[in-house]
Amino acid sequence: MTNTYIESFPAEAKVVRAAFYSSFLALAIGGLFGIVQTLHRTGYYRFMDSADYYTVLTAHGVLLAITFTIFFLVGVFTWAVTTSLDRPVEDIRFTWVWYGLMVVGTVLTAIPIFAGFTDSEMSASVLFTFYAPLQGHPLFYFGLVLFVVGTWLAGADWFRSWWAWKQEHPDERIPLPTFMVLTTTLMWYIATLGVAAAILLFLLPWSLGLVESVNPLLTRTLFWFFGHPVVYFWLMPAYMMWYIMLPKISGGKLFSDPLARVVFVLFLILSVPTGIHHQYLDPGIAEGFKFIAMTNTMFLLLPSLLTAFTVVASMEHGARQRGGTGYLGWLKALPWRDPVFAGMALAGLMFAAAGFSGMINAGMNINYLVHNTFWVVGHFHLTVGTAVALTFMAVTYWFLPQVTGKELWSRSVALGQVVLWFVGMTFMSNAMHRGGLLGIPRRTAEPQYEGFEFEAAVGSVGELDAQIALGGALLTLSLVLFFANVIGTALNSRSDDLPANEYADTLSGPSDAPLVLDNLKLWTAIAIVLVIFAYSFPLLSIIERGGLFGPELTELPVSIGPGLEYLSTTTVSTVTTAGETAIAIIAGVGS
């Protein structure tokens, strides 16, 4: 008799599984586009028109940064809430509703993006950041809104579970995993107000022709209001896994429950008022506002640095319980053969490196050196591309048996896969960082120019390209192994010999944590006040300068094709053909 998640919560396990599979589908398509870009950019293999590169890039960004991460997140969070509260969701139909909404949102967003490959007049090659006056098809914005609303309802679902639980356990501390889910969700609610405002008030009406124009700096600022905290939204499930799974898999206990709570509270209050650090080089925002954003951002390092200590100490506890000794000798006693452990540990290590390049990005004037260069791409391939993605893939090897009741297809392949990802990303992101320091821009199909060349102090640009291509190839191979394992596991038969659905105990438990840490209203209020401090004056100033709806602009739908002729709203027929594709995709996901 095992005690897996699917046995305890069969209905929830289905939703979690569906969310995971949706996430993996996005990962597969996004990953495929990743290698296409790698080969195109480095010039090793260009089979498409360079204009199409940006369509590929848009799909890669949206599918991986939004779809892959957030679908995985809702799966993990649903698991965390149900497991730690030990109660099923209040209404499984509601759970399916938000999941469905997210799927529909994704599909609606994907339609105009993918239409960019066809001769259709519809397109949304506006990249993940969709800066106006580049204009996507209305469906693109509408889909994004639906997706975000889906995540809002998911959050409501988790809160509902917690409220119901609280009625029955009035004097108990919020279990740590649920606490993490709730603080992250609150942060998400505050953060998404920015993108919701940008889309609903400005971009969507503008793309529908209801308003004449938009203020590009305003929508851009609102985007980054959301665009930075979204980074933490991806990261928090990975952090959760490091806090509650990694210690257990290392053979130990979480070093400190109270500090874990402190960390999540800090993320709740500091994640949002920092977005302007993406706009250090924007004209129209005063230097003082940028300085304030920098201070907030730098203090946001604190919870991550604390996490580093707590998580490593928990691993060390495990190692010492397993007989590890010495100052560093204990590292050998860790279960490196376990792909779940090895993957998460390597992801954590890469995140330490990413932390450093992030510190550079956070610095105000040093931003001149790296802003919008390849460095930034290197940075977020370490954060979302490794710290998050590799952690997700590693815990998948633990989660899949839990939500399918089937044994993992191959642990050796899994170990090889996570190590391969680490090596591939080392090559790729290292070369990206170095390329950025030479001034090579990000987001470009062909970083080769007629009038000048990039000069490398050591080696050459060609060698950097080779490293990137090699890294990309290894990453693709790693992905193939990952999917082989996922499919192999799904095809396995049910097993009775699976580990129980558990997470790590704590050395210093919740009773050590001051009660005030669980006061979510207080932290939310503080978070909102900080956001108002950080954002009201910059936003007012931007509106005062450029107007709410900005100057007169020429809308520029980025049609991928021979010309750049203005293409107005699309015909119904393209919508319906694309709709059929959408239905096919939904059917594929649902099965």
């Binding site: 200590f309 010495g326 590292l331 050196l369």
Partner: protein, 75 residues
């Protein structure tokens, strides 16, 4: 990797050698590891700021903060 006496060959570590409670656990290994990380961070920060960044002339100069501090634009 140095060869110390306590680095012993273990191809298979038993799940639990011992139970270590809260009070008897001193994460000295963590402190060591994170101390190394700290030093790397400090070194790299100075390197990036003073060598890579300030060595990457020209830089945008002569601004409001300086003006506020010194009353004149730096040349």
């Amino acid at each position: 990797m140095s060869q110390t006496a306590d680095e012993k060959a273990r191809s298979e570590t038993p799940e639990h050698d011992r139970e270590i409670g809260h009070d008897e656990f001193d994460p000295i290994g963590t402190l060591t590891l994170i101390g190394i990380y700290f030093l790397i961070l400090v070194f790299l920060w100075f390197f990036m700021y003073f060598v890579e960044f300030l060595g990457n002339d020209p830089t945008v100069v002569g601004g409001t903060l300086v003006f506020a501090a010194t009353g004149e634009r730096l040349r």
